[in-house]
């Protein structure tokens, strides 16, 4: 499906979402509470069939976090980006790992480096850093006077 057609179809399904055509993919901004129903529809609807979560990450904007989900359909070969803003004080979002198994490790990594809480995740704990690590390194306000080299 072409991008314009895809945007129109996604827009009719989710009227509250705001959709822009980014540099590479159409970007859909949704409310973080709507994540699971949106992903469920995108995955199961045959004309959309987004069955492949190829990238999941987070961006710290200092005032809030943005969760970014890159989706692809292996049948139709179209891509979509889902974005959801999270509160900085208590960042919490539903896990996507029951829909996409790939999310399980990605979400553990995001929890490890950003401190985002994924509710209903089967075993949310640190993955790359040691269990007793203090702080979340990829946050912009993280500071480590010993190990960080400032250029």
């Amino acid at each position: 499906m072409e991008n314009e057609e895809l945007i129109a179809q996604v827009q009719t399904r989710f009227p509250e979402a705001s959709i822009v055509l980014g540099n590479d993919f159409p970007e859909v901004s949704i409310d973080s509470k709507q994540l699971l129903p949106v992903l469920q529809t995108l995955k199961t609807e045959p004309s959309l069939a987004f069955n492949f979560l190829f990238c999941e990450t987070c961006v710290d904007w200092k005032t809030h976090f943005t969760m970014v989900y890159h989706l692809e359909s292996t049948t139709h070969r179209h891509n979509l980006v889902i974005k959801a803003n999270l509160d900085r004080v208590q960042p919490e979002i539903e896990t996507a790992c029951h829909l996409y198994r790939a999310a399980e490790l990605h979400e553990r990594e995001i929890f490890d480096l950003f401190g985002i809480i994924f509710t209903n995740h089967p075993h949310l704990r640190r993955i790359l850093l040691t269990d007793d690590w203090v702080g979340y390194p990829l946050r912009k306000d993280y500071d480590d006077p010993i190990n960080m080299i400032k250029l």
Binding site: G22, N23, D24, F25, E27, N51, F52, L53, F54, C55, T57, V59, D60, V68, H70, T74, R77, Y100, R101, A102, E104, L105, H106, E109, L113, I127, L128, L129, T130, P137, L138, K150, L151
Partner: protein
């Protein structure tokens, strides 16, 4: 600390494989729960070589950050560099000279060959056959020498820069690559003779590590791991970059879904890489090898996602730019990380000896997973 061996209440044994274990090819640590000899649970414990490359990149310029990616998947360093260079070029809308495109694709395919050769040798070694390792390194050495002559390095190449390649190819490059292709074509039959057709090898590889097409997609597998289950996911075909759309080659798909299928995909990919190199080696156009770029690169505000096909699968580079000289955030979607997440699914219910075979064919590069 992890106990070396501990027993749980169900009569199961929990043992550690790694972080120092020859079969994990690096510092990967797996916690395995065994019932008798059967694996019932597998849990990867990562981070032994985590350098936080993504955080480092936030303080490096768009020329510098490319070099950190050679240290991620060190076996496909050219291809990693390619992904980053493409991302910067796309954002800056730099047209790169055709000669540079040809050199890039040739280098990428040589890297893919070298990477698959190392995988083939190391995998056979994991299964107890030591000779293939030396056979593979015999040919890989020739590629490394070609690389050394042009790039000055044998492992972390750092040869691709935004706008083209760092310097022109060595005058001997074309001749030596041609010689290598002739040599390699006579030797690759040996690979099949030694390992592929071997009955002991086939018995160990067939019907283990089964992952269905749906599961492979759901786990985010890419590269030969997914193509062994019939998932068409070759970025060079589906989202052609550089000059791949002008090159004739086939996407290798196997439908066996087991470890042997994934093995066959990699072997057949070597033939395809040779095919690409043969088409391009005589066609390298004359001209510039690097486009003129500004000394200080500033990316426009926005988000840029680039993907390329490395030897292990799809590498994605997600750049978030605020308009400055350094990226605001960079995420590397590494193929190994997602492929590893499918390991438990593949291994469950198999014997511990099969774990080594399944892992060997997954071709994990740990710095790529830990970043």
């Amino acid at each position: 600390m992890f106990e070396q061996v501990s027993a749980n209440n169900n009569g199961e044994l929990v043992i550690n494989v790694g972080p120092q274990h020859p079969a994990t090819h690096g510092v990967l640590h797996l916690l395995i729960t065994l019932h008798g000899e059967t694996v019932t649970k597998l849990e990867p414990n990562l981070g032994y070589i985590h350098r936080s490359i993504e955080k480092m990149c936030e303080s490096l310029s768009y020329r510098q950050f490319i070099y950190t990616t050679s240290r991620m998947d060190y076996l496909s360093s050219h291809i990693n560099n390619h992904a980053c260079a493409l991302g910067v070029e796309k954002a800056m809308q730099i047209e790169i000279p055709e000669r540079a495109e040809y050199i890039r694709v040739l280098m990428s395919e040589l890297t893919r060959l070298a990477s698959h050769q190392l995988w083939w040798g190391a995998m056979a070694m994991d299964l107890g056959a030591l000779s293939p390792f030396f056979y593979a390194f015999r040919e890989r050495e020739v590629i490394n020498d070609i690389m050394e002559e042009t790039c000055g390095a044998r492992l972390t190449m750092n040869y691709f820069v935004p706008g083209g390649v760092m310097y022109d190819i060595h005058p001997n490059f074309v001749k030596r690559v041609k010689d290598f292709i002739v040599l390699f074509k006579s030797k690759i039959a040996e690979y099949d003779e030694l390992v592929t057709g071997n009955v002991i090898f086939q018995n160990r590889m067939k019907n283990i590590g089964i992952i269905s097409k749906e599961d492979a997609i759901s786990y985010g597998c890419t590269g030969p791991t997914a193509r062994g289950s019939g998932v068409s996911c070759d970025v060079r075909k589906n989202y052609p970059y550089s000059i791949y759309k002008n090159v004739q080659f086939d996407e290798v798909l196997e439908y066996g879904c087991d470890a042997f299928s994934r093995y066959q995909v990699r072997i057949k990919e070597m033939y395809q890489s040779v095919r690409i190199i043969e088409q391009l080696i005589d066609q390298i156009p004359e001209g510039e090898f690097q486009a003129k770029t500004k000394a200080v690169i500033k990316l426009p505000k926005g988000e840029f996602y680039t993907r390329v096909e490395t030897a292990r699968g799809e590498l994605g580079v997600y750049i978030v730019s605020e308009g400055g000289t350094t990226p605001y955030r960079i995420k590397f979607r590494s193929p190994g990380f997602s492929n590893l997440s499918a390991l438990e699914h593949m291994v469950k219910g198999h014997k511990i000896g099969d774990l080594v075979a399944i892992m060997g064919v997954l071709d994990l590069v740990i710095p790529d997973i830990d970043r």
